[in-house]
C-alpha cells in the first residue's frame, strides 16, 4: 500500500447530515407554501420570491468576496432560506427595488455585520421585513387579495386582510360577529384564500412543511407547538371573556403570520435557544407578545416584533437554562 495512513482524533465516523442538507430541507418544506402563494397571487409571487433569493445570495457573495475577502460560503444554503423567508413576509406586488433593499438589510446588516452565519442575534429575514415596514409603510401594508395564479405581477388587487378588517372594525366599535361576515370562513383561511403576505396565507401548506421538518429532524416540535398553543390559549381566554370584542382562537391561529412565524421563523437555529426548556420559554414569550400586540398594539400583526423581542432574550436563556445533567453532585470526601 503506497498511501500514508490518515490519523485524526476519534470519532472516525460522522453522520451524513450537513448544514447544507438542513438548509435545503427547510427550502423543500417551504415549497408547498410557495405553490399556494403562486396559486393565489399569480406571477407576482414568483417574481418577488426569485428577486429576494437572488438578491440575498448576491449580497452575501459580494460582501464575503470583496469586503471581507474570505471564501464565499453561499453554497451552504442559508442565504437562500433567508431570501425565501423574506419574500414570504412581503406583499406579492412589492416593487423590486424595495426587495433588494430588504435583502441588503437582511444579509448585510442583520447577518454579516455580526460575523456571518451563526453569529447573528436577530432573525435576518425579520430584521429586513421590519426595516421595510417602517421605511415603506404604504407599499408594505397594501396586501393583495387572492386573484388566482394567472394574475400578472403588476395586476395585483389590494384589499384588507382579515386581521386588518378585525382590528379596524373593533377600533370603530363594530362587534366581532358582524366583522366575521366580511372575513372568509375558517376553512377558506386554512387553505389560504385570503389577503396577506405571500407566505402567511396558506396555513395548511405551512403545517405540511412543518410536519416534514419535524419528521426529518430538522426542527423539534417544541417551538411551533408551544407558540401556537400559547396563542390559542391566550386568545381563547380573551374570547371567552368578551366574544363581541375578541375573535376566536382558530381565527387568530389561521390569520396573519403566526403559522409562518411559529413554524419557520421562530425555529431558526441561530436565533433560537438550544435547550428544550429554553425553547418552550422562548415560544411562550413569542405567543404572549404576539397576542398583546394584536389586541392592544398599534399594528394589526405582531409576530415579527414578538420574535425579534424574544431573540434578544435568547443569549440569556442559553446561559441560565442548562440541560439536565447526568448524575447528581457527589461530595468529595
Amino acid at each position: 500500500m503506497n498511501n500514508l495512513l490518515n490519523v485524526s482524533p476519534s470519532p472516525h465516523q460522522h453522520s451524513s447530515e450537513t448544514t447544507r442538507k438542513l438548509m435545503y430541507g427547510v427550502v423543500f418544506a417551504l415549497l408547498p407554501a410557495l405553490a399556494a402563494s403562486v396559486y393565489y397571487f399569480g406571477t407576482g409571487a414568483i417574481i418577488v420570491t426569485l428577486t429576494s433569493v437572488v438578491s440575498c445570495v448576491a449580497v452575501e457573495y459580494l460582501i464575503q468576496k470583496f469586503v471581507l475577502k474570505v471564501k464565499p460560503s453561499v453554497s451552504d444554503g442559508s442565504a437562500v432560506v433567508t431570501g425565501l423567508l423574506l419574500a414570504f413576509n412581503v406583499p406579492s406586488n412589492l416593487p423590486l427595488f424595495i426587495i433588494v433593499i430588504g435583502a441588503v438589510i437582511s444579509i448585510g446588516v442583520a447577518k454579516m455585520t455580526f460575523g456571518g452565519l451563526g453569529n447573528n442575534p436577530f432573525n435576518p429575514a425579520l430584521v429586513g421585513r421590519v426595516f421595510l415596514l417602517i421605511s415603506f409603510p404604504v407599499k408594505m401594508t397594501s396586501w393583495p387579495v387572492p386573484t388566482g395564479f394567472k394574475t400578472g405581477y403588476a395586476d395585483a388587487v389590494t384589499g384588507a386582510t382579515p386581521l386588518g378588517i378585525l382590528s379596524e372594525g373593533v377600533k370603530n366599535g363594530e362587534t366581532v360577529s358582524a366583522l366575521m361576515e366580511k372575513i372568509p370562513s375558517h376553512l377558506q383561511m386554512f387553505y389560504g384564500h385570503m389577503g396577506g403576505s405571500m407566505g402567511e396565507v396558506a396555513a395548511g401548506a405551512l403545517i405540511l412543511g412543518g410536519i416534514y421538518m419535524i419528521w426529518k429532524k430538522i426542527i423539534t416540535w417544541h417551538i411551533p407547538v408551544t407558540v401556537l398553543l400559547t396563542v390559542a390559549v391566550f386568545t381563547g381566554i380573551l374570547w371567552q371573556a368578551d366574544p363581541s370584542k375578541f375573535a376566536d382562537p382558530v381565527f387568530h391561529l389561521l390569520t396573519g403570520g403566526v403559522m409562518l412565524g411559529a413554524i419557520f421563523m421562530a425555529t431558526d437555529y441561530v436565533t433560537s435557544p438550544m435547550t428544550p426548556k429554553g425553547m418552550i420559554i422562548y415560544a411562550i414569550g413569542i405567543g404572549v407578545i404576539t397576542v398583546l400586540i394584536r389586541t392592544w398594539g398599534a399594528y394589526p400583526e405582531g409576530v415579527s416584533f414578538a420574535i425579534l423581542i424574544m431573540n434578544a432574550f435568547v443569549p440569556l436563556l442559553n446561559m441560565y437554562i442548562k440541560p439536565a445533567r447526568f448524575g447528581k453532585e457527589v461530595k468529595h470526601g
Binding site: 495512513l5 490518515n6 490519523v7 485524526s8 482524533p9
Partner: protein, 288 residues
C-alpha cells in the same frame, strides 16, 4: 414660548443638574487614591498588554515598576531600552541594561529533511495534535505545523510557510514577548540573544533520541555525537539527553561548530557565505 415647552425645558434641566450632582458626589466619595506616577509610567509603556514583561498588562507592570526599589529583573521587551529609560526618568531610578532577544524555532523538519509517515486530519491545533500522537513524521519531538505559535503572536511577527510546513519568525517584528514559546506544546521556540545583523547560530533540533533513531527519522537531526562541544573555543555548547545546546550569551558566532556538525543540525543564519568548507566525516562513522 408656550407653557408646555417652558415646563419641559425646566424639567429636563433639573434632571440634568440632579444627575450631574449625583455623579460628582459619587466620584468624589468612591475615588481611589493612587500614586499619580503609575499613570505617568503607564503613559510611556507601549500599551500592547502582551504579557511579555511577565505581568498581566501594561498597567500592572506600571504598578510594579512604581513599587519596586530597582529595575532589576524588570523589562518591557516590546518597548525595549528606550521605554525602560523613560520610565526610569519618571521614577528617578537607574535603568538596568537587558540584552535584547529574539524568538528562534529549534526545528528544521521540512518534508525534504524529515519524511512524512502519516497525514494529520484533526483540528488545526498543535496541542490537540501533540496529545493525540507523535506527529506526521517518525520524530516525536518535531514541529507539528498547526500554527498555535502563529495564532499566539500579537505582533504579526510569525506566519506558516506552506512549503517547509514550519512557522517563520520575522526578526524585525519580533519583540521577544514569549507568547509563542508558551504556545508551543513541544517547547520548540526559544528566546535567544539578538546579535547584530540578526545573525544566529543554534542547534535546530529538539530530538532527544539516540543518534541512530534520530537520524533515521530526520536528515538534519542532532545525533548527540558531541563534536561541536569539543570544537567550541568558548565552552558555549553543552550536551544533555543526546542533544546539543548552544548558550546564545556565550556564543561568539565563530561558526566552528557549524562546520563540525555532521548532519547540519546547527544552523548559521544571515552570515556572509564562506569561501571553502573542509571535508565533513560521514554520518555513519560518527554514529559508530
Amino acid at each position: 414660548m408656550s407653557s408646555t415647552v417652558l415646563l419641559t425645558i425646566i424639567m429636563l434641566s433639573l434632571l440634568g443638574l440632579t444627575a450631574a450632582v449625583i455623579l460628582y458626589v459619587v466620584a468624589q466619595k468612591f475615588m481611589v487614591i493612587e500614586d499619580p506616577r503609575i499613570d505617568q509610567v503607564a503613559e510611556v509603556l507601549p500599551g500592547a498588554n502582551c504579557g511579555g514583561c511577565g505581568y498581566t498588562g501594561c498597567r500592572a507592570f506600571a504598578e510594579i515598576l512604581v513599587k519596586s526599589e530597582t529595575f532589576e529583573g524588570l523589562n518591557c521587551p516590546v518597548g525595549g531600552a528606550e521605554t525602560m529609560s523613560k520610565a526610569a526618568q519618571i521614577l528617578d531610578r537607574q535603568p538596568v541594561a537587558v540584552e535584547p532577544k529574539v524568538a528562534v524555532l529549534r526545528c528544521n523538519g521540512t518534508p525534504e529533511n524529515c519524511t512524512r509517515t502519516s497525514v494529520y486530519d484533526g483540528a488545526m491545533n498543535c496541542r490537540v495534535a501533540h496529545s493525540l500522537y507523535g506527529g506526521t513524521t517518525a520524530c516525536q519531538f518535531g514541529c507539528l505545523g498547526c500554527g498555535d505559535c502563529v495564532v499566539a503572536c500579537q505582533f504579526n511577527a510569525m506566519y506558516m510557510d506552506p512549503v517547509t510546513q514550519l512557522p517563520v519568525i520575522i526578526d524585525e517584528k519580533c519583540v521577544a514577548c514569549g507568547a509563542c514559546v508558551k504556545a508551543c506544546p513541544r517547547t520548540l521556540i526559544e528566546l535567544r540573544k539578538r546579535n547584530r545583523k540578526d545573525r544566529k547560530i543554534y542547534v535546530s533540533c529538539q530530538n532527544k533520541d539516540k543518534g541512530g533513531p534520530a537520524r533515521k527519522a530526520c536528515n538534519v537531526a542532532c545525533i548527540g555525537c558531541g563534536k561541536c562541544v569539543k570544537v567550541c573555543p568558548y565552552d558555549a555548547i553543552t550536551m544533555a539527553d543526546n542533544l546539543a545546546f548552544i548558550d546564545s550569551f556565550k556564543c561568539k558566532l565563530c561558526r566552528k561548530c557549524v562546520t563540525e556538525c555532521p548532519t547540519g543540525a546547527i544552523l548559521e543564519l544571515n552570515f556572509p557565505v564562506k569561501e571553502e568548507k573542509p571535508l565533513q566525516p560521514s554520518v555513519a562513522e560518527v554514529i559508530e
